[in-house]
Structures are given as C-alpha cells and as structure tokens.
C-alpha cells in the first residue's frame, strides 16, 4: 500500500507543494500522534462537538428561508388551522419552513434536537471532568473555557428559541424582559435598549437573529478551537491503572485509529439525531400560534438547559420585592440572575479553591475515581442536587398534574429541598464514597469471598478468599488521600487569618478519609491469613487461596 502511495507522482507532488508552503507536516505529526485513552466517558465532549457540527449544517439550511422580521401579515399557507391569522413574518416563515419547504420540518427538528443534545452532552462532559478531577493543574484554564462554552451554549439556545416568534418563544422573551427590568436602577434602560423600546416592539427578532447566527456561533467556534488546542497541549488525562503514570498517556493515536473511530462516531451521532428528528416532534410552533402578549399557555417552559433558572423564579416567593426611596427592587426576579452568577462563579472558582484548600499545586494527569475524593464528589453531588431541584421546579405544574399532587405542595417541598437537598446530598454522598473506599480496602486486603467453605484437617471451617488480580488491585490502591494540611506560619512566623480559615475548611472537608492500602498492610494481611490457615494443612491449599498475592512468600 505504502509503495503505491509514494510511487504516485501526483500525490507526492501535491504533498510536497502543500508542505513547502505551509509546513503542515509538523502539525499533522503532532496532532496525529496525540494519544486518546479509550473510555466511554472520555467521548462525551466529542458528542457535543458533533452535535455542534450538525447544528451548523442544519442552521445554515434554516437561514436560507427564515425571515427575521416582525412586519405583520396574514398567513395564507397550507396549515389550515392558522389560515388568515395575523402574525409576524418571522412566524410565517417558520411555518413556511415547516410545511412548504421540502425537508424543512425535518431540518428544523434536527436543529432543535441537536441543540438539546449539544447542551446535554456538554453538561454530562462537565460533570465527568468535575467528578474525576480532570480540571486540576494544568487544565484549570480549559475548565474555564468549558464553563464559558456552557454559558454561550445557553445563549445560543435561548436566542434560537426566541426566533420563531410563536407564543411559547414570546413568553420566554417576556421572562428575559422581566429579568432585565429587575436589574436595580438600570433595568428599564437595559430592556428598552435590547427591545428597541417597550416590549415586545418590532426589533427583537432581527436583533436576536444577528446574535444567534453570527456573534454567538463565532464565539462558540473560537472557544471550541481554544478548548481543543488545550486538549492537545495538555495531552489527555487517563484513569489510574497499571502502566499509567503522570508522564505518559496510554491509548490509541489519533492517526489512524482514533481518527477513524471519531469519524465513524460523528456519523453515528449525526444519524441518531436524524432518527430522532425524523420520528419525534420538537417545538411544534404551529400549535402555539403567533405571539401575542396577552395569552400564556399552561405548561409554558423553556428548553431544558434554561429550566433551572425558570424553576428558581417559580420557587421564589413574591414578597421579596421592596422599595428603596420609591424605587422598586424586584429581588424576587433579580435573584435568578444572582443564582446564575453564583453557579457559574462557583464553577470557575472551584479549581483554584481546591488547590488553595489542599495546598496541592502539582500537575495531575491521572484522574481520580469519584469515590477516592469523597469531599469533591460530595460537593459535586450537592451542586447537582441543587440544580436538579431548580430544574424540577420548572416543571412543577406538570409534576403536580401527572402525579396527582397539589401544585402548592410541590412548590413547598421543592423550596425545602432547595436548602436541604444539597446538604443531604453532601452528607449521603460522602458517606457512600467513604463506604466504597473501605470496601475497596477490604477487597485488596482480604480478596473476594468465594463462597467456598473448606474444612481444615483439624476440623476448622474457613471460607476461601480469592485475591484480586494485580491490575484490579492497582486500580483500587493507586490514589492519594492527603491529610488536611494544618495552618502554617508564614515567613515572619505569624499564622495569618486566611491560613487559619483555610485550615478550618481543610479540616472540615478532609478530616474523614480512608487511606489507600500500603504495601506493608498488604503484606501484613497476607501473613495474618497465612497464620490462620496454617496449623497442619498443606501448602497447596494456601496457594489456592492466596496464590495471587505476590509479596511475602
């Protein structure tokens, strides 16, 4: 094969042409040799990337027919239940794409489903990064880029959701309008600036359109570029395992193996999205009718990734609005923006907070199993529970109807969980993690209970334990469980206040922990067992039970 390639004059000629003008071989060599470890959870970011490609392709198609204008007209298209109804050109053109353009409805649905999958894959990817500690040095900046990608993804989704100018999207915009107006002092000005006057005005669709098809995707592409560049620069992280060190990456090279797999994966995601788009309705704008500020339908919700903010608004009691010197402070609404700031701020700050807390400023290329860092895992679960409570609150009305509950009770329960849920999540998760770690210790020290009871010659009964194999044992023992670093004095011999705070936090977070099994413990356990088993029985029996433990014989 390689002979035919090098022999082809055309190929060598053109390769030389490109190489002498771009010097691309260095980049291809660098990127082609990048190693990807194989694990399913490492592919979630790729899913987001491929969904984004589908979004770009289907979105381009939609721009060919969509009219981002709010001029009023009467619909005369083929969808009978709306014929003669007064609507904006934006809504009419979306109906046109859905019912008149060949394949238009399919591509609209593909675009929308891809957006939902994009955000879902992004979120799951972020959770994977968090729970395995992949954001630690040197990857903190890339973690921040990822957080920015989530924020921009939400912006892209929301601007797109608002474009068709149907009842649902208009209601969503009304909430955005309310959020903007709730900003103290400048709120009304900001809202009037965005909408070009009083809500809804006649400008908003064309303005959102510019953001949706130009600004936001451009920023997204730039961020994705930076994100992937960092992935190459930092090299991939990997799970702990025999032969996996902080200085190597064990996996498949991009060229040829991983590139082939990745290409296939792109088409699988593409076809999965096509399948969903072809079979399942999404955002049936023809049901919602044209936007009119007066009606609001029951079951009006934003797309899932905005849901948590909507849910927070639903949980918020109305009495949090008050007046200062005659000016209303709509804290009941404005706090949704604060909550978003808290969540995103916490995500950005966490890597630095953790490094400060633990005093660990080393590079980390080996991931941690979630159970092996119980504190982080518990904090992550607490944040997830908090998010989920707000998310559930966004669909409180549907929960009430489908489970035959009182809407008020659902709201009260979720309000309580808003405060208690994260705390419970933290406590339970930490206990579970510590328990799992103890189970791991148990496994390493005593092996797996085989269920075989043997009787020794002197009459004693024992259960045979099968030692875990060395590869599994590596996974179970290769982790760190650093003790909290106590408050230390600085160069002047003074313990600063910040250091004492840090030590308090560290104590709280890392006081309870489980040490990994050391070699000495392993040897000791082995000898103990040997002692038990000894007493007149033959060596073969001991070998069957403990033969896999290599040391100490």
């Amino acid at each position: 094969m390689s002979n035919t390639v090098t022999d082809s004059k055309f190929l060598t000629g053109s390769a030389r042409f490109v190489e002498s003008r771009t010097g691309a071989s260095a980049a291809v060599k660098e990127f082609g040799r990048k190693i990807f470890p194989a694990h399913w959870s490492f592919m979630l970011g790729e899913v987001a990337l491929y969904s984004f490609i589908v979004l770009l392709l289907s979105g381009t198609f939609l721009t060919l027919w969509f009219k981002p204008a709010m001029g009023e007209m009467h619909y005369e298209g083929s969808f009978a239940p709306l014929r003669g109804v007064e609507m904006s050109e934006a809504y009419a053109s979306t109906l046109n794409i859905s019912f008149e353009i060949r394949g238009g409805l399919f591509l609209r649905q593909l675009h929308h489903w891809a957006a939902l999958l994009f955000m879902a894959a992004l979120s799951l990817h972020a959770l994977r990064i968090f729970f395995t500690g992949a954001y630690r040095k040197p990857r903190e900046l890339n973690w921040i880029v990822g957080v920015a990608l989530i924020a921009m993804g939400m912006a892209a989704g929301f601007t797109g959701y608002s474009l068709p100018d149907d009842l649902l999207s208009g209601n969503g915009l009304r909430i955005i309008d309310g959020l903007l107006k709730s900003i103290p002092l400048v709120g009304t000005y900001v809202s009037f600036f965005l909408f070009g006057g009083e809500f809804p005005g006649t400008d908003i669709v064309s303005r959102l359109y510019t953001m949706h098809i130009m600004l936001v995707p451009a920023v997204l592409i730039a961020l994705i570029g930076v994100h992937l560049m960092f992935v190459v620069i930092h090299k991939h992280t990997q799970w702990p395992g025999a032969g996996h060190t902080e200085k190597n990456v064990v996996g498949e090279p991009v060229l040829p193996t991983f590139a082939a797999k990745g290409g296939g994966f792109l088409f699988m995601i593409f076809s999965l999205l096509c399948l969903i788009a072809g079979l399942f309705t999404i955002n049936p704008i023809w049901n919602y009718g044209p936007y009119d500020p007066s009606p609001v339908s029951a079951g009006t919700q934003p797309d899932w990734y905005i849901g948590w903010m909507d849910g927070f608004l639903r949980l918020m009691p109305g009495w949090l609005e008050f007046y200062i010197a005659g000016y209303p402070i709509s804290f009941n609404i404005f706090s949704a923006l604060l909550v978003a700031a808290v969540l995103f701020g916490a995500m950005i700050a966490w890597p630095f907070f953790e490094a400060w807390l633990t005093g660990d400023h080393r590079d980390h290329n080996i991931l941690e199993r979630p159970r092996n860092n119980p504190t982080r895992t518990a904090v992550g679960v607490a944040a997830t529970v908090w998010y989920l409570v707000m998310w559930a609150a966004a669909s409180g009305d549907l929960i009430a109807v489908f489970f035959h509950m009182s809407l008020n009770d659902v709201t009260y329960v979720l309000r309580t969980l808003f405060f208690l849920g994260p705390i419970l999540g933290y406590i339970v998760t930490r206990r579970v993690c510590l328990g799992l770690q103890r189970k791991d210790r148990e496994l390493v020290l005593h092996g797996i209970e085989s269920g075989q009871i043997i009787r020794l010659p002197h009459g004693e009964y024992q259960e045979r334990h099968i030692a875990v194999d060395p590869h599994a044992r590596w996974k179970l023992t290769a982790f760190e469980s650093p003790a909290p670093v106590p408050a230390r004095a600085n160069a002047k011999g003074v313990v600063p206040r910040s250091e004492r705070v840090r030590a308090k936090f560290a104590q709280f977070f890392f006081e309870n922990r489980v040490e990994p099994v050391t070699k000495d413990e392993l040897d000791a356990a082995h000898h103990d067992h040997h002692g038990e088993v000894e007493g007149g029985h033959d060596a073969e029996l001991a070998g069957a039970g403990h033969g896999e433990l290599p040391k100490g014989h």
């Binding site: 899913v47 955002n283 079951g299 009006t300």
Partner: protein, 261 residues
C-alpha cells in the same frame, strides 16, 4: 265567549287566571332569557318524576332533598339541564370521592337516566339547557378563529392544544383531547368546577363552535412532526433527550470503546 262570560264567577276562575298570568310571564321570561344557543328541550312530567327518584337516591345526600344544597354540595337551583348532562355524562357526578376536584370516571347512568335527572334539575329553576345540533358540528366551525379564542381564553389552564395543566392545591384543568363536542360546549356554557362560565355574551354560540372545531382539530389531526411526546412542550422534549437521546449516545460510546475479547 259566552261560555267564558258565563263562568267568570266560577270559584276556580281566579285560580285559572292566576295560572294563565303566571304562565304568560314565566313563558315570556323564559323566552327572553332562554339560551339562544340551543333549542329548549322538552321534558315530560314523567321524566321529571323519574329524575326526582334518581336524584333522591343518588344526589340528595350532598345536594339536599330538593336540590337546595347542603354543607357538602352546592344548590342546583338554576344550574340547568346542561350542567347535569355534563357532570353526570362525564362521570364526574356522583362524586367518586371527595377531593380538590371531581374526577372523571365511568358513567354511572345511561343517557336516558341522565336526561331524566336533567329534567328534574331543570324543573327546579331555569338554566342553560343541553345544546343540540348545529353548534356542536365541529366541521362548521372555523378552527383558525377558534385557535385565537382558545389561546386567549382557555390555554392558560388547558395548554395550547388542550393537553391540560395544573391549578392551585391539587385542582387541575383536564386534558380535552377525548372530550365530546357536546361536553365541550356544556363546559363552556356552565363552567363546571373551577372553570369560569363563558356565557353567550362572552363567547357567542358560533364562537363556541369555533373553539370546539379548534380542539377537535388539535386532537385529531395527525402530528406533522412525528410522535407528539404528549404535546407537553419543552419538559417532555428535555426528558426525551436525556433519557433516550443521551442514553443512546452513551450506548454508542460504550460500544466504541469496548475492547475486543
């Protein structure tokens, strides 16, 4: 005439005169206030008598022996035949259990018995009668106009396509997809349970028909985009992408990274 003048001093003359007077005023009242949407239904006195028996046996516990209402149930004077036809016809009455709202269940009476009950309740005082005919024919309505009316008047509780929605404290607006034209009309006309009344000044009979045409169209027309996922909007779509879309994706990733054995 001679017959009349001869008996004008008959002891019963006053009674007859009173009766005629009452009938005339009552008839005129009924004529001017009657529901123009549906032709007044004729019930025989036998229907009323049968209805009373059914009423006493099944309804009086809560509504009182003569429908005057008790602590446990409202007065039925003036609710009209239409209300009875809706409440009993959809199985909501007699109540399955007490709760925030009457539940739809299997009808407890057949249509003849419902008519008899309606006759009895209608005899307590004038109220909207059971709609008939033209205004129930969805094909004569304009679903586009009805859609506009539905979004303005109904969608905030029943959802844009009538999929239903939550109200306060366990009450809810039911799904409208399998509700008959007659029951849709009666519900608008009588405002059962938590629903407001849309009388003929609010929504004319023609407009009610447009609304019915819209609801029928929304629930019967095939969905252009494929499976509707309950027509519940973004929540159902979000759940679908997480539990089916992302689950399929994870299945693919596990398959792609599986080691050949």
């Amino acid at each position: 005439m001679k017959l009349l003048s001869a008996r004008r001093r008959h002891p019963m003359a006053l009674v007859v005169l009173l009766l005629v007077g009452l009938l005339l005023t009552g008839g005129a009242y009924a004529l001017f206030t009657s529901n123009s949407s549906a032709k007044a239904q004729e019930y025989s006195s036998d229907d009323v008598a049968q209805g009373q028996k059914l009423f006493v046996a099944n309804c009086a516990t809560c509504h009182g022996m003569s429908g005057q209402g008790t602590e446990n149930g409202p007065s039925l004077v003036g609710v009209g035949a239409s209300s009875v036809d809706f409440q009993v016809g959809t199985g909501r009455m007699p109540l399955q259990m007490s709760g925030p709202q009457g539940q739809v269940k299997k009808q407890q009476f057949n249509q003849d018995q419902i008519d008899q009950l309606a006759a009895y309740v209608a005899s307590m005082g004038p109220g909207p009668s059971v709609p008939e005919g033209d205004y129930l024919d969805a094909s004569k309505g304009d679903p586009a106009k009805g859609g506009g009316l539905f979004r303005t008047n109904c969608a905030m509780c029943h959802n844009v396509v009538g999929a239903g929605g939550a109200l306060t404290r366990g009450k809810y607006a039911p799904n409208l997809q399998n509700v008959s034209e007659k029951h849709l009309y009666e519900a608008m006309q009588t405002g059962p349970q938590n629903m407001p009344i849309f009388n003929d000044a609010n929504l004319t009979p023609e407009q009610k028909r447009d609304v019915i045409a819209y609801v029928r169209n929304a629930s019967e027309e095939p969905s252009p985009g494929g499976f509707k996922l309950g027509a519940l909007g973004p929540v159902a779509e979000g759940l679908f992408i997480w539990f089916f879309g992302l689950a399929a994706v994870i299945g693919i990733t596990v398959w792609l990274t599986a080691r050949s054995k």
